[in-house]
Amino acid sequence: MSEAPRFAPGDRVRTSTVDPDHHTRLPRYARGHVGEVVRDLGAWPLADEGAQGVPDAREEPVYTVRFAARDLWGGGDHWVTVDLWQSYLEGAS
């Protein structure tokens, strides 16, 4: 049974600033930033739990989130998308 989606394309979300002591798939450069959900990729087993050998890693929605380079690094005119599990995200106004 997977977690229900909390976000939809168009929503603005903020990524976690947590630096966990285990394997995770939120890159450092994308931590603590606000982006826009561009796609709902459906539910997938959470990589963090899979890496810790949890037999049935909980399935969570994964989203393609788009960030402006200017927000990530203070410069650049391009965009960066990262595919992120729901627990890496919270809603942003």
């Binding site: 890159p27 450069y29 393609t64 005119d77 391009h78 965009w79 960066v80 990262v82 595919d83 599990w85």
Partner: protein, 196 residues
């Protein structure tokens, strides 16, 4: 020539590990050979090229590909199944005002089935570190200079979604067959480090 052959030392380590894995009954030579054969025979950028050529000639396929690539590629006899892990495919389309390029900054995730084994540069720290930060400069190192009014989006493959770039169909190719169009598509074009 140095007497120190690091490759030879690693080869010995690999052979020892393999012997122990086989002795533990976890695999055998036949399976190891089969794994390699499947990779070398089945995984190729020709697969990605066929998807692109079909999208260029069939607009309905192109729309379905952009909406649900995993499902659409069955049209050309391909699927995202058959690997070690279930994965999804996302196709991103280059246009006159948008260019897409792919990376996996955390390791080197790559749609091997559709593109074959990944190139060394894709796996390098230099590419993984730089393309998300200065894609224009990185693309220029590949000989791809994009006009300033073309917006670049870099896609970091951080989950089980694998990406493929749908390059722009080159001008003057209206008379070409789908098979001929397939030969125009390069692996770098499918990653986004070439125009096509």
């Amino acid at each position: 020539m140095s007497d120190h052959h690091p490759d030879a030392e690693i080869a010995v380590r690999v052979r020892r590990l393999e012997e122990r894995v086989v002795a533990a009954g976890l695999t055998d030579d036949a399976e190891l050979d089969d794994i390699l054969t499947r990779l070398l025979a089945g995984a190729s950028p020709l697969n990605g090229a066929r998807i692109v050529a079909r999208a260029w000639v069939d607009d309905d396929f192109r729309r379905r590909l952009l909406a649900d690539a995993s499902g659409a590629i069955a049209d050309v006899g391909l699927s995202m199944g058959g690997g070690l892990k279930v994965q999804n495919l996302g196709v991103v389309e280059n246009t006159a005002s948008e260019h897409h390029v792919l990376v996996c900054t955390l390791c080197s995730c790559y749609p091997i089935g559709l593109l074959g084994p990944s190139p060394s540069w894709y796996k390098s720290e230099a590419y993984r570190a730089r393309v998300v930060r200065e894609p224009r400069a990185v693309l220029a190192e590949f000989g791809l200079e994009l006009p300033d009014d073309v917006a670049i989006t870099v896609h970091d493959t951080s989950a089980e979604n694998r990406y493929l770039v749908l390059p722009r169909r080159p001008a003057g190719t209206e008379a070409l067959s789908e098979a001929e169009l397939t030969t125009m598509v390069t692996r770098n074009g499918l990653i986004g480090t070439a125009a096509v």
